[in-house]
Each structure stands twice: as structure tokens, then as C-alpha cells.
């Protein structure tokens, strides 16, 4: 990696991946934290799906 930073650590760390909690904060930090970062598909980058009509 050419660049790296650390965000708030200790029992503040949390990760919510694809609708699933991988790590949760302590109950106390859950009431205290106000800021997080969300990562998502940039406009135009999201995968496309094609609906196909199923023929019996």
C-alpha cells in the first residue's frame, strides 16, 4: 500500500459488509459515535443485471 491511515480504534471499530455485521462497537461506543464512512459503487460502476423472461 502506498497510503494508509487509521480511524478511531479500540472498542470503536466496526465493519458492516454487504448487510452483515462483521464487527460491532461496544454498547457505549454505539451511543457515542456520530461519524462513519460508507463505500459504495460510484455512479455508473454498479453491476448491471439483465432480467430474463423464463419460458416454461
Amino acid at each position: 500500500m502506498t497510503d494508509a491511515v487509521l480511524l478511531d480504534g479500540s472498542d470503536s471499530v466496526m465493519m458492516y459488509w454487504d448487510g452483515v455485521w462483521k464487527s460491532k462497537q461496544s454498547a457505549r461506543k454505539n451511543t457515542f459515535t456520530t461519524i462513519g464512512l460508507g463505500f459504495f459503487y460510484a455512479p455508473g460502476s454498479e453491476p448491471t443485471t439483465v432480467e430474463v423472461e423464463l419460458v416454461p
Binding site: L7, K22, S23
Partner: protein, 215 residues
């Protein structure tokens, strides 16, 4: 299923490339105690998630993800200079560093110190990520200041950086929870060391792991 793919040695191999393609540019894996989210940098955008009521932050996160089908990953963010007990309203929780999100209209000015910033700029033509010492500019798409630098411009940070040195004084144990955001020219990596991890890394070794050292 846990995968023991080393982040440092060989993670930029054909297997990772294949898995990134198979997972449309967002790939989760575990490396020892580390929970890792690897993303194709060119496909990713970033926004600030902000709690605005007395609800727990977990609720804020779940609601934000549910409201945007493009959202794949949410992590916690800023440091706080004070740590009161009990629920607090966002307006009474001061932050280290500035926080900006242009689309959401978020502009928070925190306390200053020698620290790092992570920011995303999208002008519609050439989106880019930037990690630097200093504060994010107010016109960035999304940016977070007040962070601990580990590697800036391909140069590992050492104890001459006051923010880094103070962070080590505060708690340099191997069981501390740590959350890194890192990048190179192709990838964006979020790596989380759970709080209480048995085989975690202290600051220097975590920095060296991300910089490409042996771990």
C-alpha cells in the same frame, strides 16, 4: 468461509484479481485476525455516514445501507477528543479534524493537531482518492480529518509525527481494535483488527504490514 490470503505478500496476485472480478470489485476476506475489504479503486465512491438523532450508531448504519442499494461497506470514522459516558447527541460530540460531505451538506470543523486526512474527490471526470497530512478541503466530495497517519505518499510514518507518537502512547498493545483505510494505484483496502484480537499487531508492525513488510 475464512480465507488466509496475506494482504502483503501475494495479495496482488491473479487469485485476488479473479475474486475481485467475480465479486464486482468488492471482495471481503479474512487474514488471521484481520477482517479485510478489498475494493477496486476505480469503482468505489465514499460518503460520510452521520448520526443525527439519539439512536445508536448501528441503527444509523443499517438505515443508511438499506436506503442505498449501491452501499457495500460501512465503517466507523472520526476520533473524539472527549469520551463522555452515556448517549450523546451528535451536536455535543466534538471531533478531531474536519468532516465534509458535499452531497449530504455536511461540514464539521473539529479540533486541529498534526494529523492525517482521507478524502475522495469526484468532479465527474477523474475521481481520485487522496491521503495526506492536513485537513480535507471543504469542497471535497467526502473527507475525514483527524486521523492517524501510517503511510503517506509511499513513506511509512514514524515517531517524528506527533499524532502517530501520541497514538502509540495512548495504547500500543496488540489486542487493541484498529481500523485502517489504505490504497495503492489500483486498490482500496479497509482492514479491521477486532478489539481484543489475540494475534493482533501494534502500530509499527501494522504499518509495516500495510507497507509491504513480512508478517
Amino acid at each position: 468461509m475464512a480465507m488466509n490470503i496475506p494482504v502483503v505478500n501475494g495479495w496482488r496476485n491473479s487469485e485476488i484479481e479473479t475474486r475481485l472480478r467475480m465479486t464486482n470489485g468488492f471482495f471481503y476476506f479474512e487474514d488471521g485476525p484481520f477482517q479485510c475489504a478489498l475494493m477496486a479503486r476505480a469503482l468505489v465512491s465514499m460518503r460520510v455516514i452521520r448520526r443525527t438523532s439519539r439512536e445508536g450508531f448501528a441503527t444509523t448504519v443499517e438505515e443508511a445501507a438499506a436506503a442505498d442499494s449501491r452501499m457495500r461497506l460501512v465503517i466507523n470514522g472520526s476520533f473524539y477528543p472527549s469520551d463522555p459516558r452515556g448517549a450523546v447527541m451528535p451536536s455535543s460530540a466534538p471531533l478531531f479534524g474536519n468532516v465534509f460531505d458535499r452531497m449530504a451538506g455536511i461540514a464539521i470543523y473539529g479540533t486541529k493537531m498534526e494529523q492525517a486526512a482521507c478524502l475522495y474527490l469526484d468532479n465527474g471526470k477523474n475521481p481520485r482518492w487522496n491521503f495526506a497530512i492536513g485537513e480535507p478541503p471543504s469542497d471535497c466530495t467526502a473527507g475525514l480529518g483527524g486521523l492517524i497517519p501510517l503511510i503517506i505518499g509511499n513513506v511509512p510514518v514514524n515517531d517524528t509525527n506527533r499524532r502517530y507518537a501520541k497514538a502509540k502512547q495512548y495504547g500500543n498493545g496488540t489486542r487493541f481494535g484498529r481500523l485502517a483505510v489504505a490504497c495503492d494505484e489500483k486498490y482500496l483496502l479497509v482492514m479491521l483488527q477486532p478489539d481484543g484480537a489475540k494475534d493482533g499487531l501494534a502500530y509499527d508492525r501494522l504499518r509495516d504490514k500495510l507497507a509491504g513488510g513480512q508478517e
